[in-house]
């Protein structure tokens, strides 16, 4: 569905409308549970929701729809994504797109429905992890989602739209005129067999080489949002709601004549090459809602610059005032 529509409201509704407009299968199978129930409620009001009986079933049906050459989404939160990891792995091997929307809530276990970014290391694990998109504000959700769809379909590789439950509950406004180029894959093409079985090791090796080549191309698509990085000496790295807060902190630090800047990975995996971004940096501050997952990730790109972590967890969100004080106190 295309056509211009500006929508004001909660992120869950904006995301729901974006899904309705992007799906071409006519049905989204889902397993409703907090905090993703609001997305399903929106989709149900539009008449395209069908209940799945488990997250595994939802993931398998999503994989089936994609295998048949149509577009749908699977929506999870918290540990629910673990039940989709198998389908993500199969989609990687089948070379079909597989579109997940994952809401980060406080884990391990059930935890609570409040925001957390504790899934990063699981999502980006493996040789060919899914492409991970992370919006940092409500307004960019539909646009980034359509970009994710385009990349996933172009490369026939799974992708995850990863946002925390704080962002899901925020309000904003967004244009929902979403255009994704036509693409075909799976059984809609001339392909007769979709399989991930390669019993001959040389065949499997060849297969993996092909995936490796493709993944190197996907790496070139990686991008980050750079904010006031031209002369930044104190660099904040953050994604999701943390980037939203960090950006405001950077604004205030600049007013105090502190040369602060921010790197916000729009695509969290594969990560864009950040090496060149830290040339003028005196200190790097990683702001996140997990126990150092982003810190460990970014550390691989940093040499000779002091890194500090400012994090919150358990459902708490980093505080802007606290972050400003922390940066000022460590200069």
């Amino acid at each position: 569905m295309t056509g211009s529509m500006f929508m004001q409201g909660k992120a869950s509704a904006i995301l729901g409308e974006a899904i309705v407009r992007l799906v071409d299968n006519g049905r989204v199978y889902g397993f409703s549970h907090p905090p993703v129930n609001e997305i399903y409620e929106y989709i149900a009001k539009k008449g395209i929701f069908a209940p799945a009986f488990s997250i595994k079933e939802m993931a398998d049906i999503g994989l089936g729809i994609s295998t048949a050459g149509k577009r749908t989404f699977v929506i999870t939160s918290g540990t629910g994504i673990y039940d989709c990891m198998e389908a993500i792995s199969y989609a990687t091997s089948y070379e079909v797109p597989f579109l997940s929307i994952h809401i980060g809530k406080s884990i391990p276990g059930f935890g609570n429905p409040y925001p957390y970014q504790g899934d990063l290391e699981i999502l980006k694990a493996g040789d060919f992890p899914p492409i991970i998109f992370c919006p940092y504000m409500v307004d960019e959700i539909p646009f980034l989602l359509s970009q994710m769809v385009e990349l996933s379909e172009r490369y026939r590789h799974p992708a995850v739209f990863y946002l925390d439950s704080a962002l899901l509950n925020m309000t904003g406004g967004a244009d929902l005129n979403l255009k994704v180029p036509e693409a075909s894959w799976g059984l809609r093409t001339e392909k007769r067999v979709i399989s991930s079985i390669y019993l001959e090791v040389r065949d499997m090796e060849k297969r993996l080489s092909g995936l490796k080549e493709k993944y190197n191309l996907i790496r070139k698509e990686a991008r980050s949002h750079l904010y006031m990085m031209e002369d930044a000496e104190y660099v904040v790295v953050a994604y999701g709601i943390c980037a939203y807060i960090a950006k405001k902190a950077v604004d205030e630090l600049r007013l105090m004549d502190i040369k602060a800047g921010m790197i916000n990975p729009v695509i969290l995996s594969p990560l864009s090459d950040l090496n060149g971004q830290f040339v003028r940096a005196k200190k790097i501050y990683v702001v996140e809602m997990s126990n150092g997952q982003l810190y460990r990730y970014i550390k691989g790109y940093v040499e000779g610059v002091e890194m500090k972590t400012y994090n919150a967890y358990g459902g708490l969100i980093p505080d802007k005032g606290g972050l400003i004080d922390y940066i000022k106190g460590s200069l």
Binding site: Y29, P51, S54, G64
Partner: protein, 248 residues
């Protein structure tokens, strides 16, 4: 007066059955089912519109033998994948082919598809063990039968009683057709084929979900000769309700 001899082909190699050498063990019923499904699709003229989704297990690469579009599903995922494919293309004939161990792995998908009345055909080849695991106990392994994970034989106190799959599904309203058949004899195979054709027909007429349990032999893991394995299946088959258990 010259009488022209009329020659009519009454039996032959199914056109969609490939000539690739099958990897199945001697006496395995997956080989029989490969031929039965090929014949059913061929006789119904559905070669171009059929899609087979093969569950994880010994028959996962059945797409190598049946020349229709095919998908090798994740463990327990064949019904879910078949549901997705059918949802994406209503005009296709979509069937899932799984062993009973794999079917139980994805039981929520089977029940989900049944409750929603998804228009797919589910064929479960129940050979009383999990063959790809080297003959491990499956939910349907009969009491007393030795497997790699019940070396002293299945014992109710330790392993629970075997499950009758078809009966579990009887009360699910969206599953319109349930049948139990077998491959232990030529007559049983012919009956199985007619049941599969009926289930395919029902799918074409939009009659909800169809479930067919086919009892089959696994001589290798049963440690029996093919003939002994067939006799064993006949024995198990004789203790169960057979034929059409539920129909629209």
């Amino acid at each position: 007066m010259d009488e022209k001899r009329k020659i009519e082909k009454v039996y032959g190699f199914p056109e969609i059955l490939t000539e690739k050498k099958a990897h199945f063990c001697p006496g395995c019923s997956h080989g029989i089912m490969t031929k039965v499904i090929s014949e059913a699709i061929g006789e119904m003229g559905l070669e171009d519109s059929s899609i087979g989704v093969y569950g994880a297990g010994c028959a996962a690469i059945m797409y190598d033998y049946i020349n229709i579009k095919g998908v090798a599903a994740p463990p327990g995922g064949a019904v879910g994948i078949a549901t997705g494919i059918k949802s994406a293309g209503k005009g296709s004939l979509v069937f899932a082919y799984q062993g009973e161990g794999d079917l139980f792995y994805g039981l929520s998908s089977l029940i989900g598809a049944g409750v929603r009345g998804e228009g797919i055909t589910i064929i479960c080849e129940n050979n009383l063990n999990m063959g790809i695991s080297g003959g491990a106990m499956s939910p349907a392994t009969p009491v007393g039968v030795m497997t790699t994970t019940s070396p002293q034989g299945r014992h109710i106190a330790s392993h629970g009683a075997p499950v009758s799959i078809a009966e579990i599904l009887k009360d699910i309203k969206g599953i319109k057709y349930i049948a139990r058949c077998s491959t232990h004899s030529p007559g049983a195979v012919r009956k199985t084929k007619s049941i599969i054709k009926k289930a395919f027909e029902l799918q074409l007429y939009g009659e909800g979900t169809a479930f067919i349990e086919v009892l089959g032999m696994c001589p290798t893991n049963m440690h029996l000769t093919p003939v002994e394995a067939a006799l064993k299946i006949r024995e198990v088959y004789g203790e169960l309700q057979t034929g059409e258990i539920k129909h629209p």
